[in-house]
């Protein structure tokens, strides 16, 4: 089975995010960059499916910069076979649909049975790219998958919905997006890291994949980044006993904050 994993490199979730002087971007110096955690689930699931199906390839596909090669090498070290990186200055300000258009253009030139993607990237939290790629390829998708089972050209998925889960069947080829709980991603082993150095990373420009810059011009633009309002009071409730503190807390929540 040939599987494509959509992968994005993002700042590690433990990062403190500061806003750059232009007020529209973040400071990227001194950040630790990692594979988007939801994409890690996708890499892991792809490797498990390949093993279960007894063959095929796992191809990582990303839109990024030179730095993104690090994340792709990590995915290759986990066990993916090869990687494709689309790198182009015109792609750097693309919105979710623009990124999806780039990914779909590449996928159209490849053979694949299944595409796996993170439900969202933990940087822009947009939840757009996976479903949009499926739409542009005219294949079905199921989002937020916590369990999948492939049988006879179809996949049965358990996905989360608010307040429960839904089990759905979908024929292949299809795209699935991952939800926490799907698997526990493996760490790259030392032999895996050594092998990854020799695995191919194919770097392409927009022109290479037949897209013009205008095709990815954003319709959604970030005009400002702001820090959320700080909580100012930070009042510690004092009291002689747990009971006294509890009584005072409930009093202020009821009478002052008016949330009870």
């Amino acid at each position: 089975m040939d599987i494509i994993v959509l992968l994005k490199q993002v700042p590690a979730t433990e990062s403190v995010i500061s806003i750059a002087d232009d007020g529209k971007h973040i400071e990227t110096e001194n950040l630790k960059w990692v594979i988007n955690p939801y994409d890690e689930f996708a890499v892991e699931e792809a490797l498990q499916i390949k093993q279960k199906q007894g063959g095929g390839t796992v191809t990582l596909l990303s839109v990024g910069t030179d730095k993104t090669v690090e994340a792709l090498r990590t995915g290759l070290a986990m066990g993916a076979d090869k990687a494709i990186l689309v790198k182009d200055p015109a792609a750097e300000e693309a919105d979710g649909l623009g990124i999806a258009r780039i990914l779909a253009a590449v996928i159209k030139t490849l053979d694949c049975d299944l595409i796996l993607a993170g439900q969202r990237a933990v940087d822009d939290d947009a939840y757009i790219v996976g479903p949009a790629v499926a739409e542009m390829l005219d294949i079905p998708h199921i989002a937020m998958v916590i369990k999948e089972e492939i049988t006879d050209g179809a996949v049965r998925c358990t996905r989360t919905i608010d307040g429960g889960t839904l089990i759905q069947d979908v024929p292949l080829p299809a795209l699935l997006t991952t939800q926490r709980g799907l698997n526990e991603p493996r760490y790259a082993s030392l032999p895996g890291i050594m092998k990854a150095k020799k695995k191919p990373i194919d770097i392409r420009s927009l022109a290479d994949i037949g897209l013009e810059a205008g095709a990815v011009a954003p319709k959604v633009r970030v005009t400002a980044l702001k820090t959320p309002p700080e909580r100012t009071s930070g009042r510690i409730i004092e009291g002689d006993s747990a009971r006294a503190k509890a009584a005072e807390l409930v009093r202020v929540l009821h009478q002052e904050a008016k949330v009870i």
Binding site: T13, E14, S15, I17, I26, Y38, G96, V122, D124, D125, A126, Y127, I128, G130, P131, A132, A134, E135, M136, P140, H141, A143, M144, T160, I161, D162, G163, G164, T165, I167, Q168, D169, V170, Q179, R180, G181, K219, V220, R221, T223, L225, K226, T227, P228, R231, S233, G234, R235, I236, A242, R243, A246, A247, V250, R251, L253, H254, A257, V259, I260
Partner: protein, 321 residues
């Protein structure tokens, strides 16, 4: 090109999600500003019995799209029908509730219509023809203002972030002849956790972390029950296997906007603080006075949560009578 607003009002098992009413309320405000009509649409089976509820928040027209294929959410059938509704209504703005299924629908719809989409918004502003949405990014560490360019804009609004506002509208109910097309996704089974309030829609969340020391969350459940709220958890508690993944609040879990968030035995890792940053009032209960959570809380109690939480529950019951 109309200047109207279309709201897709989500229901499950014949009950509207609260965010459906929030979306209609916000849709009314935007429609008034645009000088257009507000259309609300509900997809499902047997939904004509509940459709009238949308009139209370000012819908001018309520479309019911009823089909067996729409009984349960399937993104392909839903996208097809909503795209057909958009073609008929020709709105300037489409609002969807940013639930897990709403986000899924919004993304696929945006791609089909090639329309700009702002996901999980906590604020929407119209300046003339320009729509600007405020949305948390980096799990809530930063707020982004984004402008959407085009004659059709889509916004998915975060549950609990927009208020409810009752207003009058004609609330004329019309049947929309839904054609789900040839859906590929087949329904197998649905399992709902009965009686559980979803974290994203809860007005009150009581969360537990490593300080809980184990999987017995009874004292938090009791407090949540007294406050008619839901129980959440930190990543540590989920990683320990004490709580399900669906309860995790944080950058790689759920970002929540309750009126009251009570963090019990949670030290306050940056990912967790991000996920709860849009809560209106935050209370921290922790025995470590140096825990970072206190700096991000409105009120704090330094103490043993196993003593403090049950005492808070007792006091809440007194106040609530």
């Amino acid at each position: 090109m109309s200047n109207g607003v279309l709201v897709i009002a989500e229901q499950i098992d014949g009950v509207f999600r609260k965010v459906a009413f929030e979306a209609v309320s916000e849709g009314k405000r935007l429609a008034e500003q645009l000088g257009g009509e507000l259309t609300a649409a509900v997809l499902g089976e047997g939904v004509d019995t509940i459709a009238g509820e949308l009139a209370r928040y000012g819908a001018d027209t309520i479309l019911t799209a009823q089909e067996p294929a729409l009984k349960e959410f399937a993104v392909d059938a839903y996208t097809k029908v909503v795209a057909d509704i958009v073609a008929q209504v020709d709105p300037s703005v489409v609002l969807v509730g940013a639930t897990m299924t709403g986000k899924d629908l919004a993304a696929r719809l945006a791609a089909r219509l090639d329309a700009p989409l702002a996901m999980d918004c906590i604020g929407i502003r119209l300046d003339g023809d320009t729509l600007t949405a405020t949305r948390p990014v980096y799990g809530g560490k930063v707020l982004a203002e984004v402008t959407l360019t085009g004659t059709l804009r889509i916004a998915a609004i975060r549950p609990n972030a927009f208020g409810l506002k009752e207003s009058t509208g004609p609330g004329k109910i019309e049947v929309f002849a839904a054609d789900p097309g040839d859906p590929k996704i087949r329904f197998v089974e649905k399992q709902m956790e009965t009686g559980k309030i979803d974290l994203t829609e809860a007005e009150v969340i009581v969360s537990g972390g490593r300080g809980m020391g184990g999987s017995d969350y009874t004292i938090l459940e009791d407090l949540a029950d007294a406050l008619n709220g839901a129980v959440g958890a930190s990543r540590s508690a989920v990683d320990e296997g004490w709580r399900p993944h669906s309860d995790q609040v944080g950058q790689t879990g759920k970002t929540v906007s309750p009126g009251l968030y009570i963090a019990c035995g949670i030290s306050g890792a940056i990912q967790h603080l991000a996920g709860m940053s849009s809560a209106k009032v935050v209370v921290a209960i922790n025995k470590d006075p140096e825990a970072p959570i206190f700096a991000k809380s409105d009120y704090g109690i330094v103490g043993d949560l196993f003593e403090v939480v049950p005492a808070v529950t007792q006091e809440v019951k007194k106040v609530k009578g």
